[in-house]
Symmetry: C2
Subunit: 352 residues, 2 copies
């Protein structure tokens, strides 16, 4: 009675101590390897009892089918590529979290790549994805979305963008309602009696910045306030740049009594600089953010902001991608609603 001895070769083992393959299981179960394959896929083509027996043996042996071999023959790897400008950003990491969870729930594994906003690196990681034969790609907050067009064409793989900064280039994307969100914030401020309201934006030209700026303007117009160009300044979405940008506002002869920040990170820098000037939020100046990152409720004072359902957005992007990968159609542009969260960084304007 032959035991586990295969009789194949007596040669020395290679370093990585041979994982056991489907053929090993076939030998143990005294069937052919296709039968094992079918049994593990719960195929109706195999006898129920045999299948159960095979599954039991495979399980006890700790057998794990090789996804790479399967991917080779199936031509579908059940992996997706996720490129993000940087994971070390609270917004991105929440989105990544949502994507990873739903990918995992659907049997997909995700390759993570950090582009660091470096176009060369971004191109490199997408090439890596091409070699890995990913089934789809998600890109979040890309500054260089247009770069993907040729690569996309080359890879023949669906792509979904989250909060892309260059409109129209891609069909599938999920974004927040930037305009109505920022309009809600600005309207909140006008209702508090503010008339000199500033906008501290991201880099000029990015779609989300354009849309939020538009929302800010709409709210002001509705309140009968005219545009004041000197009250619109730009940072880069991060605290450092915000600290510089807000200097221009504070140096004004008639400084604003409230400022709408492009996002919470910007608000963080703004509030810090305001404090360094000896001023107080919200007594001297109201500050509002956008995103509702985890720290928004812990700032001093807690930040009034717009909540973006970041994980949900990641989930939606992944679900959309899954549809596309299955050959189905999916909604091209998904827009999620923004929710105003009023905390203590905004207050009624002082009587002039």
């Amino acid at each position: 009675m032959p035991e586990k001895n295969t009789g194949k070769s007596a040669g020395v083992e290679k370093r990585p101590h041979r994982q056991l393959s489907i053929k090993d299981i076939a030998r143990l179960a005294r069937v052919s390897h296709p039968t094992v394959s079918r049994a593990l896929q719960n195929s109706p083509l195999v006898n129920a009892q045999t299948a159960a027996k095979i599954r039991k043996i495979a399980d006890e042996a700790g057998y794990r089918a090789s996804a790479v071999a399967r991917g080779l023959v199936t031509r579908r790897t059940r992996t997706i590529g996720l490129v993000v400008t940087t994971v070390a950003d609270p917004f991105a990491s929440e989105v990544v979290c949502g994507i990873e969870q739903t990918a995992n729930d659907h049997g997909y594994s995700v390759f993570l790549a950090d582009s660091n906003a470096d176009p060369a690196r971004e191109k490199k990681v997408v090439q890596a994805f091409a070699e890995r034969r990913v089934d789809g790609i998600i890109v979040t907050s890309s500054r260089v979305g247009a770069l993907y067009l040729p690569l996309l064409a080359e890879m023949m793989v669906p792509i979904v963008l989250v909060n892309d900064q260059h409109p129209g280039a891609f069909v599938h994307s999920v974004m927040i309602e930037n305009l109505s969100g920022m309009r809600a914030i600005a309207a909140h401020l006008t209702k508090l009696g503010h008339r000199r309201i500033a906008y501290l934006g991201d880099r000029f030209g990015y779609q989300s910045d354009v849309e939020r700026l538009a929302g800010y303007r709409e709210a002001l117009h509705e309140a009968g306030i005219d545009d004041v160009p000197e009250l619109v300044v730009h940072g880069d979405g991060k605290p450092e740049a915000a600290m510089e940008a807000i200097e221009k506002l504070l140096a004004l002869a008639d400084p604003p009594t409230a400022v709408c920040c492009y996002n919470d990170m910007t608000a963080l820098g703004a509030m810090r600089k305001i404090r360094m000037h000896g001023l107080h939020v919200p007594e001297d100046i109201s500050v509002a953010g956008f995103d509702d990152l985890f720290f928004a409720r812990y700032t001093q004072p807690p930040l009034t902001t717009i909540r973006q359902p970041m994980r949900r957005m990641g989930q939606l992007a992944m679900e959309s991608l899954i549809k596309l990968m299955s050959g189905e159609e999916s909604v091209a542009q998904i827009r999620v609603d923004a929710e105003l969260i009023v905390r203590e960084s905004t207050a009624r304007a002082r009587k002039q």
Copy 2:
């Protein structure tokens, strides 16, 4: 003269429009496919001119070698699995960033998996890694490190842990000098004249908490201060729990004049609650954190803390793993130094 027509079969194409393979390039270059393989690997076995010509053709055709086919025959996928309790944590995401960068620099791709601190999920993702045939695994801040032992044995793959909470179970890890770090913070406070210094920790029993608590005690002993059990309380490393935990300290008949927090997230919650009690930092009570997350310099007041070189730690973990995957030895326990960053949340104790 035969053109691109392969003459193989006139059957209809499958859906995913056949990527071109090494054989396509071979046909274009009028050589055999092994020659193409060797040319693209810069093998000395192939004529320099032929190699150059092949590479040119492959490049112009936009050919991308299939990493999955290569992985199958090579038995090395050049992928690693990265499991993290949650990416949506500023500490973890910085580490992930460091790991991804250096992995990418060395030609490795990384599978990201979020365990959500759920043991079942954690097991599931590691099984997925096994099927993907990853060459190595990195686990950050695992609460359940011990769970990996059997899976590790099964996979025969090197593992590196970052900031593991269960000492001794694994050989390879990279951690911060918790003890000396927290001792530096506490000593900083004693030098400012504080005598009633509290410790607001993570869950009891986690290694990093144990070590930081020990550092705190050492500093107090050096300053001739006795242990006061009521001044040591525990949260869970997040702001919410910190807000609850610090209540116990504030409710004391003789409340502390300074509190060492397990990390910056804890400090965030602590400062918020202190403010809600109408007290001021640092006038009424000094607060110190640990980690130096991005927001530490933007809190009000900016947070005194210990800087952890998070990206560097990720880099070190990845470099260590690369060594192990190459069969080399690597330092078992890597400890990186902590650096005290004094900002404005700590001040001289008021005269009693």
